[in-house]
Every structure is written in C-alpha cells, then in structure tokens.
C-alpha cells in the first residue's frame, strides 16, 4: 500500500520492526558484508583487552535495522535523509526493536516531506540508537 502525505499525521507511529536476537554468526556475516572487520565485534579476547565485557555488535548493524524500519514503511527512494546517534552498545543475544514517530509535515524542494524520530531499543527498553529521517511522500 502506498503511503500518502495526506494519510500521515504528526504523532503517528510507523510499524515497529522487531528483529530476531543478534548472534555471533550475524556479526561475522556483517563484518564481511559491511567491511568493518574490527575484532571487537568478532573476538572476545580482543574485545576484553579493549576494556569491553566481550564482543559488541556493530553500531552500523543496528543502524541497518533502523533503515529497515524505514524501507518496511516506504520505498527506499523516498528517503531523503537518515541519521542516527549511537547511544548504547548492543551485544550478542540482544533483541532490537526499531520504532519511528512522525514529528513534522512540511514541504522541501517542491516535495511533501515528513520528518520522523527513530529509536532502536533492546529487550530491556534501553535505547541503543536515536535517529531521525526525512521522507518524501506522494500527495
């Protein structure tokens, strides 16, 4: 279903995206796929020597999940901008849920655009990413 500008109101939530738990296989795949081979995502020993409790998930993996909450809502070509701040670490076993809320409706460059506040939260409700996005919608 095409999402239209007129159908979206400030305060609306977009559908949540609940991801399955992050596991080490996913971190290994993401290391190869993303080009981020930092051992803190792959090797407990090296992660601990860097002062971490063990391997941590790539921040950009969580941001990729946050991108999926957008592309699950609108076609990717509608995304004008997308940002995220990394607010807490995610670990293997964590279950990340991505959420978005419409904060503004406006016009930019002759397009109808909506702004969203985005968040990724873990199973304890702790926010791992705080983000935003600007989406162009048909009238």
């Amino acid at each position: 279903m095409t999402i239209r500008f007129a159908d979206v109101q400030v305060g609306d939530s977009i559908p949540d995206l609940a991801k399955p738990p992050i596991d080490r296989t996913q971190l290994a795949l993401f290391a190869g796929a993303s080009g981020d081979h930092n051992p803190i995502h792959l090797d407990d020993e090296q992660a601990r020597s860097g002062g971490l409790p063990g391997v941590i998930a790539h921040g950009m993996l969580s941001m990729a999940f946050l991108g999926q909450v957008l592309t699950g809502w609108v076609p990717q070509s509608a995304i004008r901008s997308f940002s995220a701040r990394f607010t807490a670490m995610a670990f293997p076993g964590d279950t990340i849920t991505c959420k978005g809320v419409v904060t503004a409706k406006t016009q930019e460059n002759g397009e109808n655009v909506v702004d969203l506040d985005l968040a990724a939260v873990n199973q304890d409700g702790k926010q791992t990413l705080a983000g935003s996005a600007r989406i162009a919608l048909p009238a």
Binding site: A33, T71, R80, S83
Partner: protein
C-alpha cells in the same frame, strides 16, 4: 598532528565498485527479506537499475576505502580509543549494483566535550557515481577518548 589542524583537509578521492554479490551478502547479514534487495527482477520492477544498496551501505563504501580511519592515523590515535558517535546520510540518487562510486572525504569541524575528555571530529564524504552525479553525502562523527 592536532585535530584543529585537520579541519578543511580533503583526502585523496577513492573509488569502489558496488558488486551484486556483496549487496546480497549485506542483505543476508541484516536479515533483509524484501526481494527488491535480493532479486534483480524485483529491483528492476521497483524502478532500480539493479539491486539497490540499502540505506546504510553508503557507509560501507567509505569503509572499504578505510576512510573513517584516515583521521585517526593523522592524529596518531589508536582505533580502540575511538568510537563512531553519529552517522548522517543525505540521499540524492540510488546506489545500485554495477555502480562505480567515487568519494572524497573532507574534515568539517572538531570540538571537545566533557572538559576535554572527549574529542569529536566531523567529516563529510560526498559520493558520486560513474556518471559523475552525486548520489549521497555522508556526515560521520568520530569520538576519541582523550587523557
């Protein structure tokens, strides 16, 4: 080198080929099941030239060129003392499999927080495709723990 001296620095351009197999692996790694990201025909039906790169893949293009670490090398800072603080993408045109992307990274600003305990360095990387059209602009905030 001091971080302030890096502001305005423009790094040498880098070029990365966007490969279909790599995009499929990225889609698999993030648990993407939308056929637009996996199947050429579905991508073309959706109006893309080939499989589109997902929204955050533009950062991996810069990562392949090891761009995020160049400022750390210049500062003589160990990778383990740095974190990715924030990432911002502005999208201009889709990036698709088969594209050859050229990027140029520029150091935009730097500042300290928490009484100098943390140094923030902001870079911008403009990506253009093989038609020399801009496709995306990345703003990356790197945080270095100091002292």
């Amino acid at each position: 080198m001091k971080a302030e001296e890096l502001v305005g620095k423009v790094y040498a351009p880098f070029t990365v080929d966007v490969e279909k197999g790599r995009l499929r692996l990225f889609a698999k790694a993030i648990g993407e099941s939308n056929p637009v990201y996996l199947d050429d025909d579905a991508a073309k039906k959706a109006g893309y030239a080939s499989l589109p790169a997902p929204p955050t893949f533009a950062f991996s293009i810069a990562m392949d060129a090891e761009q995020p670490f160049k400022i750390l090398e210049d500062l003589g800072v160990d990778k383990t003392r740095s974190m990715h603080g924030e990432q911002i993408f502005d999208y201009i045109e889709p990036i698709c499999a088969g594209d050859t992307i050229t990027g140029v990274q520029r150091v935009v600003e730097t500042f300290e927080k928490k009484g100098g305990a943390m140094r923030f360095i902001v870079t911008e990387t403009l990506l253009k495709n093989q038609h020399t059209r801009p496709v995306a602009n990345l703003r990356t905030v790197i945080i270095v723990r100091q002292g």
